[in-house]
């Protein structure tokens, strides 16, 4: 017999339509959002992850003087890239132990798209060599442009996901009658109710953060997503330069004069900037056309002590060291954008604020994860035969397993590849990334062929195991095991080991819960049956 058509007596209310909107915007790109949230979360420790990925490089004991370090690296670059039209260097801070540097290469020279890069020891100025790896940079890039597809497409996909997230947050808030009360409500061990309460608490606890991080994420790439005003109004080269100077410290190299002129001491220029912004508040140094009379040196302010990424720099004449311009002011809209950008990246944070960022961002990850799981929990109760669900349910359930539990295994796989791949392997940095995706693909395959609940348990246990064993692997393959890093106060390595164990514990706890949940369900049914029997 055909099911009678549901005939709505009247149009559904606002709360119902917003609930539907929330469900579907949350689900459709939810797996991308979960991956973006988790890889973005670990990117708050991007520099630390990069340090961990290069265990050969010695730990930084004392913070080097940026002026002296800039001079040493400029001297080194004069040997390595003498005819380059531009050198750039990011000064080391408490979180990085090298000066990372890039320089423009002439066409036909090696280097990616006209750029080459290297790392330098701030104390000696020598180029440092370590295993080829992207380290924390991989997770950071993945979280807004994914991989294996052109960066622009990845960024558009991330933008679409971000827009869905923004709509999911707004519609989620409208759905909630009791947003304040819900925060204090948790009914544990009650199946769907508990998932709903967990989802609500995680969402409401971090609501300002989730809203901020989603909107500011869109802002970081807004010129890509909304280019129309710029295309209409910004026409001349001067206007383009002016807009660019409102957004970025990056100065285009311009034209060389052809007149050779020695570069004036770079350290003296950096010292002038230090006098204004503080001894350790130098972000980077850019030198255009070194060795030419038209050379320019720009010294950018660091990200500490202000919550804005709006460009602030001093521009010097390269041949004389004379201060030409101090760029320390942008327009109100540009400053607003700078603040929003800074809020997203959190580079201004000290250690405690950085941990707070990390924890709230994890809550956001868990918000997306619980939302995805809730979609299946809510519908499983209504399945005619839970062993044979319809295709859509089956697909969502399997994708959830691979996207949530599988991603943890894949991320650990990246760390293992970093420790296990031979140092001399060609394209080694790429292979670390291939390993990440290969592990993730295997997790998806496993999720597709195993019964759902068992797939959850097995993958969560596996994630717990590989996470817990990563510090062991680190102890076996490097000379920086936990006991040594603890004894030496090396908190990048010790912190990484301890955090991995904390994550392993979380995965083990989730595995245990999932396992117990399964064991209890038939027991409860049996109890209910028994009671029903007594009543009869």
């Amino acid at each position: 017999m055909p099911k009678p058509l549901p005939v709505p007596a009247k149009a559904p209310g606002l709360r119902q339509t917003m609930s539907d909107l929330h469900t579907w915007t949350g689900l459709l790109l939810g797996w991308f959002l979960y991956a973006m949230f988790l890889t973005g979360t670990v990117s708050y420790f991007k520099d630390e992850l990069s340090q961990w990925s290069r265990p050969e490089l010695t730990r930084q004991i004392a913070l080097p003087d940026p002026a002296a370090a800039a001079q040493r690296v400029a001297d080194a670059l004069a040997q390595i890239a003498p005819g380059s039209s531009q050198w750039g260097m990011r000064m080391p801070d408490a979180r990085s132990n090298t000066v990372s540097s890039f320089w423009r290469t002439a066409p036909g020279q090696p280097g990616q798209r006209g750029f080459a890069q290297g790392n330098f020891d701030p104390v000696t100025g020598a180029a440092v060599t370590s295993r080829a790896t992207q380290g924390g940079e991989f997770f950071f890039r993945f979280h807004f442009q994914f991989h294996y597809l052109p960066a622009i497409w990845g960024r558009w996909l991330a933008g679409l996901a971000g827009m869905f997230m923004l709509v999911a947050i707004v519609s989620g808030v409208i759905t909630h009658k009791k947003i304040f009360v819900d925060f204090f409500t948790f009914r544990g061990g009650k199946g769907q109710r508990s998932w709903l309460d967990a989802h609500n608490a995680l969402s409401v606890f971090g609501l300002p953060f989730h809203l901020m991080i989603t909107y500011t994420g869109l802002v970081t790439l807004m010129a890509l997503y909304m280019p129309w005003g710029q295309q209409a109004a910004i026409q001349t080269a001067a206007e383009k330069r002016q807009l660019s100077s409102e957004l970025s410290v990056f100065i285009p190299p311009g034209k060389a004069s052809g007149q050779p002129a020695a570069l004036a001491p770079v350290d003296a220029m950096v010292r002038q900037a230090q006098a204004v912004w503080g001894p350790h508040n130098i972000g980077g140094v850019t030198i255009t056309h070194p060795g030419d009379a038209a050379a320019r040196v720009s010294v950018a302010r660091g990200s500490a002590e202000r919550v804005s990424m709006s460009p602030q720099y001093m521009l010097f004449e390269g041949s004389t060291g004379k201060l030409l311009e101090t760029h320390d002011r942008v327009g109100p809209a540009a400053e607003t954008r700078g603040v929003l950008y800074a809020l997203h990246l959190g580079r201004f944070s000290d250690l405690s604020l950085r941990w707070l960022y990390f924890i709230v961002s994890l809550a956001g990850t868990a918000m997306v994860g619980t939302g995805l799981v809730m979609w299946t929990v809510k519908r499983r109760a209504k399945l005619a035969d839970p062993d044979r669900p319809y295709f859509g349910f089956w697909l969502v359930e399997r994708l959830n397993i691979a996207a949530i539990a599988g991603l943890s295994i894949a991320m650990a796989g990246f760390l293992w590849a970093n420790r296990l791949l031979p140092a001399q392997l060609p394209q080694r940095a790429d292979w670390e990334i291939h390993a990440f995706f290969a592990v993730w693909a295997l997790a998806l395959l496993h999720a597709l062929v195993r019964p759902a609940r068992r797939a959850w348990v097995e993958q969560l246990w596996l994630a717990a195991a590989v996470l817990a064993l990563t510090p062991v692997l680190n102890a076996l393959t490097t000379d920086r095991p936990l006991w040594r890093s603890l004894a030496e106060g090396d908190w990048v390595f010790a912190g990484m080991d301890l955090a991995l164990w904390a994550f392993a514990a979380v995965h083990a706890a989730l595995a245990l819960r999932t396992l117990r949940h399964r064991a209890r369900a038939p027991a409860r049914a049996a109890r209910l049956n028994a009671r029903a029997g007594e009543a009869a």
Partner: protein, 104 residues
């Protein structure tokens, strides 16, 4: 029920059509409204670069609001109508900005 299979199918098709129309209104109509906002912001009394950036910053808020409106509206037709009404002042402002920045 069995006497009216045609009507049931037509009603289903109608419901799906209305949903597709709403999704198009949200994705494409919402983006168009957001893009118009970024153009209309050029009419604000500030220099061009600031106007451009203000428009970009506002556009995502407008986009999110438009999507919520599209699904909150009582019918797909009303959803589209609302977008068009909201677009009107934005079109006027964009046109005004055009004469402001390119007076000939």
């Amino acid at each position: 029920m069995s006497v009216l299979p045609g009507r049931a199918a037509r009603s289903d098709a109608h419901r799906i059509g209305a949903l597709v129309s709403r999704i198009a209104a949200a994705l494409l109509g919402g983006y168009a409204l957001a893009a118009l906002t970024s153009l209309a912001a050029l009419a604000l009394p500030m220099d061009k670069a600031q106007g451009v950036l203000t428009g970009m910053l506002l556009s995502f808020v407008v986009y999110a609001g438009a999507v919520v409106w599209v699904f909150a509206a009582r019918s797909a037709r009303r959803a589209w109508a609302g977008l068009l009404i909201a677009a009107l002042p934005l079109v006027l402002a964009s046109w005004f900005a055009r004469t402001l920045h390119f007076p000939f």
